[in-house]
Symmetry: none
Subunit: 142 residues, 2 copies
DNA sequence: TCTATTGTATGCATATATTCATACACTGCG
DNA sequence: CGCAGTGTATGAATATATGCATACAATAGA
């Protein structure tokens, strides 16, 4: 019934808080991919599907998709569609500062996980909550 | 000898990810107030302080401050400065009733976000790393 | 009163975001 | 081949964001 593309499409929501539409789409798709809703190789919703579903312009959606492709998160194939990259690049487009912050990221990640288990929390629940807090900071009405 | 204004000012950081500058400032100040770094009645950094500190225009900072005042989060007083509202407006539209275990989940989530931001880490990067670590535990290729 | 500080305001210029309309190029399939 | 679906591209129009310079207005304090 529900293909991955439909789940992704149904999860997209726009707010009117000043954040550019293409940024909202980009970040939300990034969240869905990072959370595994759209696993590597999965087909992403069509640019036109997103445009019609969110009632925005095709070029605006394309802006978001291009950003994601530049980051290596998705792959765009003309005539075929868009797909989650087989080897998702979580580092970003050009991560120049691989200083102490890089290791602190792993440190904090593993520490957070152990703390979560200690507190009897499901890691996936925590991740989901984190994604909500970061992407849906202050919302208008649903 | 760190005044609250200095702590707030020092916590502000800008990214070049397409999010308007005034939105970044607004959301970060909102977060600092919500976390109690700037408690009710505390003085906020001067618009000019933020403008100089972040190297952006005074009007841009003012845009952020006006948004926060419109939300009732801060109070602007000409000639005096800006102050956190005594009775901060509720941050979310409708704070969902948190169960006993959900509250600890929310607590840990927001605490993790705070720590990540204080460490200068991108929340999305942390989330991605967490997602990787949890999926690897279930048996995937490195 | 004078001065420094701070929020408020305006005008101009440039860059970006968004929409609309209209195409073009590539792919798989009948 | 012809067709439908999908990504790619362009040009015009409008709105917003940002920076820069220059002020004005209110407040506290010397």
């Amino acid at each position: 019934m529900h293909t991955i593309e439909h789940q992704v499409l149904a999860a997209l929501r726009l707010k009117r808080d000043g954040v550019p539409i293409y940024v909202q789409i980009r970040e939300q798709l990034l969240d869905l991919i990072a959370r595994g809703v759209a696993p590597p190789g999965a087909r992403m919703p069509t640019m036109r599907q997103v445009a019609v579903g969110l009632r925005v312009d095709l070029n605006t959606v394309r802006h978001a998709y291009e950003d994601l492709q530049r980051q290596g998160v998705i792959v765009l194939r003309r005539g075929l569609g868009s797909f989650v990259a087989e080897r998702p690049a979580p580092a970003g487009p050009v991560p120049p500062p691989p200083g102490p912050e890089e290791s602190s990221l792993d440190d904090m990640a593993s520490r957070v996980l152990s703390e979560a288990r200690q507190a009897g929390l499901e890691p996936l629940d925590l991740i989901r909550r984190l994604a909500e807090l970061t992407s849906m900071r202050k919302g208008d009405e649903p």
